[in-house]
């Protein structure tokens, strides 16, 4: 994190950073460090941790290694909210408009997905949920395109920028909101580690091990959706972290959720900070979209670990 704070378009030394943190040093450095870089690194770490926890939880819930925060349509729902806020001009009126609308969109999407599955009479059939998630996600994506095709150029740019995902907009307000969600949602899923282990074996088995499948499933869904929504609201759509961070931990430390969850949070935070820092400095002063970086760093790393494990087995 220190490195993430130190490195940037404007050169800094470690001493400058420490001095700024201690409240000394010159005013410009202090503004850059405390006002810009620190919240940005903090937001990247928190968002990475939230996405990783959400992804790990959903993987157990859906008994599917490909599940991640985007499978439930959370990100697409959040995009609709955020893009609507931007094109309707709400974004200019209040800094809270985009995160609030994104969060509302995400939670509404989860509600619709669950309602669809319930109407099919199979609320806890993960295949139905997965399918409902994909369909609603696709529909939301179409809505975004529809809204964008009617928007003016400025809104269009701004919306696209948000959809690509970035931590550039980080401020202490968004960091605090994200941090609070992470504490509450993270505590909820970590407390659920044993039920999640059991659920990963199947609902009947979980039930025979004393897990109240209904309560556990709902808690996990609401907690993981909130975590993902908070992260998307703060920094837009950053794919891949929620999928890969838990898998990196699985390859190293096994699949017991009691160790998997905390380490996934750490891995997600690390991955996101590294990606964000890379996005900022690789072609400074211009920035890369962070989603490009997460994919470019993550995919080869993931493949490497996967192939090495395959060779050993």
């Amino acid at each position: 994190m220190i490195v993430g704070v130190r490195v940037g378009a404007v050169g800094m030394t470690t001493m400058d950073v420490l001095a700024a943190l201690a409240g000394r040093g010159d005013a410009t450095s202090r503004t850059i460090i405390v006002g810009l870089r620190l919240p940005r690194v903090a937001q990247a770490a928190l968002a990475g941790a939230a996405l990783a926890l959400s992804g790990a939880t959903l993987q157990a819930l859906f008994r599917n290694p490909l599940a991640d925060p985007y499978t439930l349509g959370v990100s697409s729902g959040a995009s609709v909210g955020a893009v609507a806020a931007i094109t309707l001009g709400l974004a200019q009126r209040s800094v809270y408009a985009v995160p609030a609308c994104a969060l509302a969109g995400a939670l509404l999407t989860v509600a619709v997905v669950l309602r669809l599955a319930a109407m099919a009479g199979r609320t806890f059939d993960t295949k139905v949920l997965l399918l409902a998630g994909v369909i609603v996600g696709t529909f939301c994506h179409a809505l975004v395109m529809l809204v964008l095709s009617f928007s003016d150029v400025e809104s269009f740019r701004s919306a696209i920028f948000w959809m690509m995902g970035s931590h550039a907009g980080a401020g202490w307000t968004s960091v605090t909101a994200l941090g609070l969600t992470l504490v509450v949602g993270g505590a909820a899923v970590v407390a659920m580690a044993r039920p999640l282990n059991a659920l990963a074996l199947g609902e009947r088995t979980a039930s025979s091990l004393g897990v109240n499948v209904r309560v556990a499933t709902w808690t996990a869904i609401v907690a993981s959706a909130s975590l993902a929504a908070a992260s998307v609201a703060a920094s837009g759509v950053i794919a891949f972290v929620g999928l890969v961070a838990p898998h990196l931990v699985r390859l190293r430390c096994g699949n017991d959720y009691r160790t998997l969850l905390p380490f996934s949070a750490l891995a997600g935070a690390t991955l996101m900070v590294v990606a964000d820092t890379t996005a900022r400095v690789a072609f400074a002063p211009s920035e890369l979209p962070i989603g490009v970086v997460t994919a470019l760093i993550g995919v080869p790393l993931f493949l490497h670990l996967l192939l090495r494990r395959g060779a050993r087995a």
Binding site: R194, N197, A198, A200, G202, R204, S208, G210, D256
Partner: protein, 277 residues
């Protein structure tokens, strides 16, 4: 095992997945502590539905299913899981845990959400691993095990629950004969410890050798229940399985000497091969 009772009692139980077709019709059956009850019958006879009713996964549309002093549906899941251990037919875990992690899950019903394993939990896990011969496999991932070893791990998980009753759903499906025998002997050992054991199986002959009572189901109805030699008659078995069957006494010299063994016969007019010489 000082619980007042850990018997199952089904009284006039019916269950229908749809109104016109009942999967289980008017079944009354008791399963007592210290006995091994085998549910047998052809495919689609309703064996799995009866199991689901015993475990509270399904609620009867008519009649009652009680475990101990309460209706099964009135048991909180955790409390029931401390009383009843389940060995499922098969499991398709999304992610492979190690054998020890799987067996440790048997302690979940005894632990609070955040409580750590205590000495007695670890002792129960070690006992279960030892009794199922898994000590050397403890750190192996489940997906690196053979079918028989995986099934032993699931049995050990149920044992680690230290329940008063066990439900085994086709525990020998896909296992070779040595693993089959070992599993039935394990089930017998659990009974000897005072547990109520209910087992669903296609192995009528093994059930006849190891079970105290056999319940023969056909098309959702209970045709007969009782000691194997009373239930498994040639006439009844031929009718239920729709195949000519004769009964021979088991030739072994052990506890199972004389147990009725079903021998399906060739039907007259069926394609044949050159006879054994």
């Amino acid at each position: 095992m000082t619980a007042p009772s850990h018997d199952w009692q089904l009284t006039a139980v019916s269950y229908g997945y749809s109104a016109e077709r009942l999967a289980v019709r008017d079944v009354s059956l008791a399963m007592r502590a210290g006995t091994l009850t085998a549910l047998v019958g052809p495919n689609g006879a309703g064996k799995s539905t009866v199991l689901a009713l015993l475990l509270g996964h399904l609620v009867p549309t008519a009649g009652s299913v009680t475990f101990g002093s309460r209706e099964v549906s009135a048991w909180p899941r955790r409390a029931l899981a401390r009383q009843v251990g389940v060995v499922p037919q098969h499991e398709t875990p999304a992610f492979a845990l190690t054998v020890r992690e799987v067996v440790a899950m048997g302690r979940y019903p005894h632990l609070g959400l955040l409580a750590a394993e205590q000495d007695d939990d670890r002792a129960a896990i070690e006992r279960a691993l030892a009794r199922c011969n898994l000590l050397t496999l403890r750190d192996r991932p489940m997906d690196a095990l053979s079918g028989g070893e995986q099934q032993r791990a699931r049995l050990a998980r149920a044992m680690a629950q230290e329940p008063a009753a066990y439900v085994l759903d086709e525990p020998t499906a896909g296992l070779d004969c040595a693993h089959e025998m070992a599993l039935f002997e394990h089930a017998r050992t659990l009974c000897a410890g005072g547990a109520t054991v209910v087992l669903v199986t296609h192995h009528v002959n093994l059930a006849a050798r190891y079970a105290d009572r056999v319940a023969l189901l056909s098309a959702g109805s209970l045709l007969a229940a009782g000691p194997p030699r009373d239930v498994l008659t040639a006439e009844r078995c031929s009718g239920v399985f729709q195949w000519p069957i004769t009964i021979h006494p088991h030739p072994g010299a052990g506890h199972d000497a004389g147990a009725p063994q079903l021998v399906p016969l060739a039907r007259s007019g069926a394609p044949t091969r050159a006879s054994l010489s």
